[in-house]
């Protein structure tokens, strides 16, 4: 009801805002936003997604809910940011690049998920999606907070309006639309697995003490 309206407004606003200035972000999130908390959030989301994906794929029906379903990746699916990366490249990412990749990916995935939310049939699914979107928004903010506290600039705002980047046509039929949804959930799941590893690496390289120190230097 009411909260739904507020939520949609917030989502729309956040989806289209340019990157929040670093100062505001830290203020909003408070001091001590650590990498550990972000890591924990990715694990929580991964767990939540398992239930959500199960419900959603059942809603899509066969073959999407079959465990062996292994469709080829269509060109149109490339819109969704992929977590797949060359091993050596991934190892060599700087902290900034690593965090930025996560930030960009989840911002875009969130936009796509919200489009999904608007179209979905059952009340149960809408409720689950809304809850998940809220948690995912929390993750984006959390990553942004870590970046700001480390002195990194936030990447430019999420790509394009919810309909997708310009030039990408909407699904021409129901089956392809379902395929899009399938790949969205798959990419989201893979990103959450990847993020756990990304934040593991960051944890080792940037202990929480460093994060708080920098905040102190800024006078917080």
């Amino acid at each position: 009801g009411d909260s739904w309206g507020i939520f949609t407004f917030l989502c729309a606003a956040l989806c289209n805002l340019p990157a929040l200035p670093a100062l505001n972000c830290s203020e909003e999130l408070g001091a001590g936003q650590s990498i550990q908390q972000t890591y924990d959030l990715t694990r929580y989301l991964e767990h939540q997604l398992r239930t959500l994906a199960g419900t959603y794929l059942n809603y899509l029906g066969p073959p999407f809910n079959e465990p062996d379903f292994n469709p080829p990746r269509l060109a149109r699916a490339e819109r969704v940011p992929s977590a797949t990366v060359d091993l050596d490249l991934w190892r060599g990412l700087t902290d900034n690049a690593r965090l930025a990749a996560n930030y960009r990916a989840y911002s875009r995935l969130l936009c796509y998920l919200r489009v999904l939310d608007g179209q979905v049939g059952t009340a149960e699914l809408r409720h689950r999606l809304a809850h998940f979107c809220a948690s995912l928004q929390g993750l984006v903010l959390s990553i942004g907070g870590v970046m700001s506290s480390l002195g990194y600039p936030l990447p430019a705002g999420p790509a394009g309006p919810p309909a997708g980047p310009p030039g990408a046509p909407p699904a021409p039929n129901d089956f392809l639309k379902k395929m899009d949804d399938f790949w969205l959930l798959k990419e989201l799941q893979t990103w959450l697995w990847r993020s756990a590893k990304d934040f593991n690496r960051l944890k080792k390289k940037v202990p929480p003490a460093v994060v708080t120190l920098r905040l102190e230097a800024r006078g917080f």
């Binding site: 292994n70 990746r73 992929s82 990366v85 060359d86 091993l87 697995w193 590893k197 593991n200 690496r201």
Partner: protein, 335 residues
């Protein structure tokens, strides 16, 4: 000219003596032993419903001259049943390996062909020299959303069969068990055991891909295991061991976030430290010894109001109420 003939178990086999006519006079031998004429149809050798024992060398000699006219090796076997295939990544993120075997022997030579398809790409699974029937693949990309499809085909002279496995990169991650598990008693601590272990050596990057561990332990005399899950570190101190009892301890490993638990490590045995038994000469010294012990089954001297006979002893659980409270207090102090 060497001939080898493969036939199915239970089949009827007809062997011709090379280019000899049907009505020629010949003698057949199996591994050098003459074969009775009743098995012959003219110069053809008929073997009905062959079994594995009939594998061997069959030779055909011309009747009078005893010239060797034909020789063949008969191998009786079966076409392959569906092979058993397993793929696993014990060295994530380097890659994975697949290993296979036949559920039942075929008794004749088999050849295996394995194909690995990732999306549209065909990948090469490099065969290992040792052990046989195993190959490994290096990941080119990490965090892939596309599944891997592995198909194993087994072929022999009598037929072929195959099996397929389809899986996600994350699903097959299973480390090897932890290595060098060591359990030691802790001096002056009758209820403690210090356990330490190492990451499996096959796990290439524990820094970026940390492992978590599962420890299980029980005294040999009990069947019920105690479990502890540890999210970091490669050591743990057990603090609730029963005094003087020998323990069996095992550890398993898992990637912190993905995949499944390893098998249990090799079991280690250890007994907590026990005090050297003092030479008992007087009643007073006996009381002193029992009150110094911290086993939860030993009753402190202040509870002499209870029936001592019912309480002292390692198996005794029946303590009266006040004794129970005092024991609880003692245990809290010593843990």
């Amino acid at each position: 000219d060497i001939h080898i003939q493969y036939e199915r178990v239970g089949a009827d086999v007809t062997m011709k003596c090379g280019s000899m006519d049907w009505d020629a006079t010949v003698t057949w031998t199996a591994n050098g032993t003459d074969i009775d004429e009743s098995h012959l149809n003219g110069s053809y050798l008929i073997l009905k419903n062959v079994d594995l024992t009939q594998s061997g060398q069959y030779s055909c000699y011309e009747g009078s001259s005893w010239h060797l006219k034909y020789q063949t090796y008969l191998r009786v076997g079966t076409p392959p049943r569906e092979p058993v295939l397993m793929c696993r990544s014990n060295n994530y993120p380097k890659g994975f390996y697949c290993s296979w075997h036949l559920p039942t022997p075929t008794y004749i030579p088999n050849s295996f062909n394995i194909s690995v398809i990732h999306g549209t790409k065909e990948m090469v699974c490099e065969k290992d020299a040792v052990p046989k029937n195993r190959c490994h693949i290096r990941y080119l990309q990490l965090f892939s959303t596309v599944k891997y499809k592995v198909t194993l085909t087994v072929t022999n002279a009598l037929g072929k069969n195959f099996t397929t496995l389809t899986f996600d990169e994350f699903a097959i991650v299973k480390p090897d068990p932890p290595e060098s598990v060591v359990a030691k008693p802790v001096p002056n601590n009758p209820r403690r055991l210090e356990v330490s272990w190492q990451n499996p050596s096959s796990w290439p990057d524990p820094e970026s891909f940390p492992l978590k561990f599962f420890l299980r332990y029980r005294p040999l005399i009990l069947d019920q295991w105690q479990h502890v899950e540890l999210s970091d570190g490669t050591s743990h101190t057990i603090t609730d061991a029963y005094a003087g009892k020998e323990y069996i301890i095992q550890v398993a490993a898992k990637d912190n976030d993905i995949g499944t638990w390893s098998d249990w490590s090799v079991a280690v045995h250890a007994t907590p430290w026990t005090e050297e038994p003092k030479h008992l000469t007087t009643e007073a010294q006996i009381t002193e010894t029992t009150s110094a012990s911290t086993s939860s089954f030993m009753v402190p001297p202040t509870t002499k109001i209870c029936d001592k006979g019912a309480v002292v002893g390692s198996g005794a659980v029946a303590v009266c109420w006040t004794a129970g409270l005092v024991v609880a207090a003692y245990s809290v102090l010593f843990i």
